[in-house]
Amino acid sequence: MVPVSAVGARGGSAPPRSNDPRPRLAQTLFGVEFQSPVLLASGTCGYGREYDGLIPLDRIGGLVTKAVSVEPRTGNPPHRIAETPAGMINAIGLHNVGLDRFISEKLPWLRDNLERARVFVNVVGRTVEDYAEVVSRLDVEEGFLGYEINVSCPNVKGGTMFGTDEAALAELVGRLRTCTERPIVVKLTPNVPDIGVFARLCEEEGADGLSAINTFPGMLIDVDRRRPVIGNVSGGVSGPAILPMGVYLTWRASRASSLPIMGIGGIRSARDALQYILAGASLVQVGTALFVDPSSAEAVHEGLEAHLERHAISSLTEMVGALELPAPPPPDAGTSG
C-alpha cells in the first residue's frame, strides 16, 4: 500500500499548489497524501476490520491499530472500562495478539482492503529492545504507513513511564530511528509539567511526528463495595472530558517543535477537531466518540468539509496552527486560579 518512494519521507505539511484540484481536506504529510485529516485512534478501532461495514474506512484519513507488542498480551481483569463524567476510563492492559499474529492475521486485511486510508501501527514494549523488535520485524511488511509509538507504558528498566522520562524517551526514539525509514510518530503522555520538552526531544532524536495526547491516569471507586471499579485499580481517562487539556497540550507541543501533530482527546465534532487544528495539529484522531456513535469519525470529516466550504477556505492547511493570539500575549498562560 505504501508507495516505495514515499516510505521514509519525513513529515511537513506542504501547501497545495494553486491549481491543484485536490479536495480541500487533502494534505501531504509524511511524504504521502492524506485525503482527510480524520483518523481512528489506537485501541478504539481494533485492527480496522471490526468496523468494516460500519465505518467507511477508505473515505477518511486512516486509522491507528490497537497496540502491538512482541509477545501476545492477555490484558487486565474486568471491569476494564467504566463511564466517568463526559468520558470513560479504560484499563485494557494492552491486550493484543502479539507481533506474529498481527503480521499473519491482522495486517493482511489492512493491506488488502484499504486503498486510501493510511494506517499507523501502534507499538508498545517493556524495554527499548521490545519496541525495536516490533518495528524491525514489521518494517519489511506491507499494509501500513508508519508507526505510532505508545510511550505511556512502564519502562521495566527505570520503573518510570517512557513518556515521562526524558532520558528513556530519547534513548527509545533514537534507537527506533535506526530501525526504520518509515514515519515514526511518538504519542505523548499528558501528565508532564511541560510537554514541549518532550516534543522537542522527539524531534531532536529523529521522530517524524507527534500524537498528542494519550489518556490521563484516573480511578473510580465503588463506594458501596469500597473497591476500585476497574479491575486494574486505575486506568486512562478519555473522552470529551479531556478535550480542553488535549487542545492545550497540542498547542504547547506545536510551539515547541516543527513536527506534524496528530491531535487527540475528546474529539466528537468538526468544531472539536478544528480546535486541535488551529492549535497546530495537521491530523486528528477520533477515539471514545466511536463508541458513542461509530459514525462520528465520518461526521467529523464531513463537518470539516462543510466548514471549509462555508468559509471559502481552499485548503485545510491554511488552518493548521492558524490560531490568533491576543497581543500582547498574557504572561501567566497555563496557570489557573
Binding site: G46, E50, Y51, R80, G239, S269, P294
Partner: protein, 261 residues
Amino acid sequence: MTAASPLRHRASVLSNRRVAQDTWWLELDSPGIAAASRPGQFVMIGYGIENTAAPFLPRPFSVGWRAADGRVGILLRAFGPGTTRMARLRPGEDVLLLGPLGRPFELGRDRPIVCVAGGVGLAPFLFLADEARTAGRDVRLLYGERTGGRVFDPELLASLAGGPAEVWTEDGAVGQRGLVLEGIDWSADRVLLGCGPSLMLRALAESAAERGVALQVSVEEHMGCGVGTCQGCVVPRADGGWAKACTDGPVFEASELAWSP
C-alpha cells in the same frame, strides 16, 4: 462473528411503560433491527454524540421482543444513573441504536426449551419463547425475582412471550417462594438456557456441570464499543484466556467460561 453488519440509526421511542418496580418496557421503532434480530442478541442504546451526561456511553440491552411492524421491545431496569435516565424516555424522543449485535442462543431443533431467567435476564426469553412457541416448540420459562414488586406485569409478559412464565420470588410475594433454580427439571434432552445476574449464572453453570447437562448462558460485562474493537468487555474463558462478551458472546456455552469467583 455475526454475518451482516449491524445497523446504526436513530430510533423513536414509541412507548415506555412501567411494568414493575424500577422496571420499564420500552418500545422503539426500528424495522431494520426488528427484522435482523435473533434471540439472545443485543443492541447498544445511547443518546448520541451531542450528549455527555450519563449515559454518555451507550448501554447494552437484550432485544426483548420484536414485531413485524418494526417495533423492538426492551426490558429496562433502572439500575444506575444511565438506566435511571433511560427509564424517563418519553414517546417522541429518540435514541441512537446499534444492532443487532453478538451471538444469539442456539435453539437446535425439536427438543423442549427451558429458559431460566433472573431479573431483567428475562428480556431475551420473551422474544425467544414467543417465536419458539409459534414454531411449535415446547418452552418452559422460569423467571425469578428477589421481590414480588419487581415481577414483570404477568399479563403483558404472557402476551409477549406467547404464554405465561413460572415465577419464583425470594420473598414469596408472587409465584413460588425460593430461587428460580429450584424449578429446573434437569433432563439432558432439553435445550437449557440461562440469563441473569452473574451469581445466579454461576450457580446454574455449576449445577449443570455437575449433572453433565449442556447449558447456554448470556453474560453481562461493561461494554464500550459493542462490536469487538475495544476489548473492554472480556469474561474469563475456561482455558485461561478472555472472551469478548460483545462478539464472542453474549451467549456462551457455560463450559466455555471460567466460573470460579
